[in-house]
Point group: C2
Chain length 202, copies 2
C-alpha cells in the first residue's frame, strides 16, 4: 500500500519534518493516482498538488511541466515530446529520416528497450492504462507534429506516422520479428523514413 | 480447472462413451497446452494428438491444419492465413490496396474487433504469449507473403508490412487515436496502401 505522510502539526512534533525526497515522492504518488483517474488530458497540476497536499508551485518546482511529471510517473524511458521540437525544426525534406533514426537509436539502447517494452506491455495489455498512453501521445506527440503541418488533415497525417512508429516498436522490440530485429538502424531508416515523409508531406 | 476425460475401459464401462463434442474439446485443450509450451513452430499435430490421447488423423479430421487448430485454440476472430492466397494472387500492382482493405473491412466488424482487440491485448501484454503470436505471424502470414517475393530481402519486406499492419491495428482499434478511428476505410486505404506496396515491391 502507498503511504501518504500527511504533515499534521501533531505528527511533526513527534518525528523529524518530512524531507525533500518525501515530498517529491508524495507528489509522484498523487500524480499516479490523478493520471490514472482523470486521464492525461483531464489531470491538472492543481489537482495533483491538492492530492499531495502541497502548493501547485511546488509540483512545478520539482517536476516541471505536466508532460515531465507524467514521464516520471510512468517511468518513461525516453521523452519524444522533449526531442520533437529539434527533430521538427530541421529541414522538412528529411524529417521522416530524423524521426525514425531518433526512434531506433533510442530504443536500441538496452535500458530504454527494457523499460520501453515493459511500458508498452502495460499500456496495451490493460484497458485501463491504454487511454493514458493515448492521451499523452495525442497531446504531446501527435499534437506537436500536426502543429507543424499546414493542412486540414494534419491530425490524420500525424496519427498515421504514430501508427507506423507504434508498429515498428511492436514488431522489432515487443514481438521481435526476426527480420526486423536483425536489421540495422540504417537499413530500417532507409525503408521506413520515406513512409513517414509521405504521411507528413506527401 | 480443465478436465481431461481419459477414456480408460474402466470408466467407459461406468458411463456412456465420450461423445464427439467431448473429443473435440479434449483436442482443443491439448492444443492450448501444447502451443503454450512448445510455441507455434514447435507444436506438432502428433504431440497434440498424444496429449489428447487420440490418433493424429482425428486431430486433422476435426480441425484441419495446424493453422486451423491454432485459430480455434486462440479464438482468432479472422484468419489472415486463409485469406492471403487470394489476396496475393491478384494483380501485383494493387496488392497493397487489397491487403489494407481486407484488414480494415475485417476489423471494422464489431465482433472481429471485440475479439481481435482482446487477443492483441493478451498477446502483447503477456511475455509468455507474445512468442506464440510471433510464431504464427512469422510462419503463416510473413512466410506466405515473402514466399511470393522474388528477392533476397523478402523476409524483411514482408516484416515491414507486418509492422505497418500491427501499427494500424494498435492505433485505430486498441489505442483508438481519434483521427484514425474516425477515418473511413477508403481514406485509410488511400494513405496506407502505397506504404505496403512500396515495402513489398518498391
Amino acid at each position: 500500500m502507498k503511504e501518504y505522510v500527511v504533515p499534521t502539526p501533531k505528527r511533526r512534533r513527534g518525528r523529524p519534518p518530512a524531507g525533500e525526497s518525501n515530498t517529491r515522492e508524495r507528489i509522484l504518488y498523487a500524480a499516479i493516482d490523478e493520471f490514472g483517474e482523470a486521464g492525461y488530458d483531464g489531470a491538472t497540476m492543481r489537482a495533483i498538488a491538492a492530492r499531495a497536499d502541497v502548493d501547485a508551485a511546488l509540483v512545478h518546482h520539482y517536476f516541471g511541466t505536466k508532460a515531465d511529471l507524467f514521464g516520471e510517473a510512468v517511468g518513461a524511458p525516453m521523452r519524444p515530446d522533449v526531442a520533437l521540437p529539434e527533430i521538427l525544426a530541421g529541414p522538412q525534406s528529411e524529417v521522416g529520416e530524423r524521426i525514425i533514426r531518433y526512434l531506433l537509436e533510442s530504443w536500441d539502447k538496452p535500458e530504454v528497450q527494457r523499460r520501453g517494452v515493459a511500458l508498452m506491455r502495460t499500456a496495451l495489455g490493460n484497458r485501463l492504462t491504454t487511454p493514458l498512453l493515448a492521451g499523452f501521445l495525442s497531446r504531446e506527440v501527435i499534437g506537436r507534429v500536426s502543429g507543424t503541418l499546414d493542412s486540414d488533415d494534419a491530425q490524420l497525417r500525424a496519427s498515421l506516422v504514430a501508427s507506423q512508429i507504434a508498429g515498428l516498436i511492436v514488431a522489432r522490440y515487443v514481438i521481435k520479428l526476426p527480420a526486423l530485429s536483425h536489421a540495422s538502424i540504417d537499413e530500417l531508416v532507409e525503408r521506413v523514413a520515406p513512409t513517414v515523409q509521405r504521411y507528413l508531406h506527401g
